[in-house]
């Protein structure tokens, strides 16, 4: 596992604020749980715990179209659940936001049920020609989240940020 970055939850909240992100929604994954707790506790950030990922895509679209810098959290299979919404709402309306994806199913995942998720995710990302960035390929000083938000706004589309490994210090689930 790359070690350039500190544990996700120690650094990510600072990156959220530096990027100007004030509105977040999502559906949990074990890798994201600590981050979600911090987002939910933060007085300066609105966090909406959505019941399903398709719904979360619509909520983050509302945030963005109403002028806020916004982010959504999901597991990869949550995006697979929601491709109709992603294409007909997020892409058709050209909505910029950061989509943080726990990309389950690689060699760090021991659950057999996670393996199909990354297989089909890889196929869908390719078929839809979606650009992705891997979080752990960057260093702390790269200020990655701000760059992702800038990319989303420049391209006028969601910017996909992949967590390809469990956060440091967290048991592989």
């Amino acid at each position: 596992m790359p070690t350039q970055l500190k544990p996700l939850t120690e650094t990510f909240m600072a990156q959220v604020r530096t990027a100007g992100i004030t509105h977040v929604t999502g559906v949990p994954d074990g890798w994201l749980a600590s981050l979600i707790r911090q987002l939910d506790d933060a007085a300066d950030i609105t966090y909406v715990p959505a019941a399903r990922e398709e719904e979360a895509l619509a909520i983050v679209s509302g945030f963005s179209m109403a002028g806020k810098k916004a982010m959504m959290l999901t597991q990869n299979v949550g995006l697979l659940n929601s491709l109709g919404c992603f294409s007909t709402l997020c892409q058709n309306y050209r909505i910029p936001f950061v989509l943080l994806i726990a990309n389950r199913g690689n060699l760090f995942d021991k659950n057999s049920y996670d393996i199909p998720k990354i297989r089909y995710m890889d196929g869908i990302l390719s078929a839809m020609n979606l650009l992705t960035t891997s979080y752990y390929q960057f260093k702390e000083e790269d200020n990655l989240l701000s760059k992702m938000m800038d990319r989303a706004e420049t391209a006028q589309e969601p910017a996909l940020l992949m967590l390809d490994y469990p956060p440091h210090g967290q048991t592989v689930q």
Binding site: H23, V48, A56, I59, S61, K68, A70, C85, L89
Partner: protein
């Protein structure tokens, strides 16, 4: 009561109240457009069921502006879990209006499953909801940013005519809506 008439009634009340209107893909967007196009209208063109959730995002992002989501009963049934999320967040400036004719109006008027729903009882189970009202063309409707989360239910007939075509493109709707919000300051 025809859907177009109650949508016109709601849209006029929204305009007088300075409210944003988010409309569901299909007959709600098409009838709303036919009653008068406004930059405060955020028309959706897919997928079905997302109007309440988009409206939730808009309402939380712009808490000083009233927001109305106009939904069909079939579309709402497709995203009924949104009611749990909306009730949890309970934005005071959000109103959901359900146009209930029991059919998918633009899809051959085949039945929706919502005939099995009692909206008044459903509303009683939503802890964040402040007001539930059955509305018609005689209802006095005002939207405010402080009124509390509201659910309006309108029993409407199957449309006698097809809703007129909707010509606007999603990117135009999006950019125009953002411009509108900037003018609101």
């Amino acid at each position: 009561m025809q859907q177009v008439d109650i949508i016109r009634h709601l849209a006029e009340a929204a305009h007088k109240s300075g409210a944003i209107v988010v409309s569901e893909i299909g007959s709600q967007t098409q009838w709303l457009y036919s009653t008068g196009d406004r930059p405060s209208h955020l028309y959706l063109s897919g997928p079905m069921g997302m109007a309440p959730s988009v409206a939730l995002g808009v309402a939380l992002a712009q808490p000083s502006i009233p927001v109305l989501a106009i939904c069909g009963d079939g579309a709402l049934a497709m995203n009924l879990n949104a009611l749990a999320t909306i009730s949890y967040m309970a934005p005071k400036n959000l109103t959901l209006a359900v146009m209930d004719n029991g059919v998918y109006d633009l899809t051959g008027q085949v039945p929706t499953p919502s005939a099995a729903l009692d909206y008044e009882h459903l509303a009683k189970g939503l802890k964040g909801l402040k007001t539930y009202t059955q509305v018609d063309l005689n209802s006095q409707i005002v939207f405010s940013a402080t009124q509390g989360l509201t659910l309006l239910h309108a029993k409407v007939e199957k449309s006698a005519q097809k809703a007129p075509p909707f010509p606007l493109q999603p990117t135009h709707i999006h950019s125009r809506f953002k411009d509108f919000l900037q003018t609101k300051g």
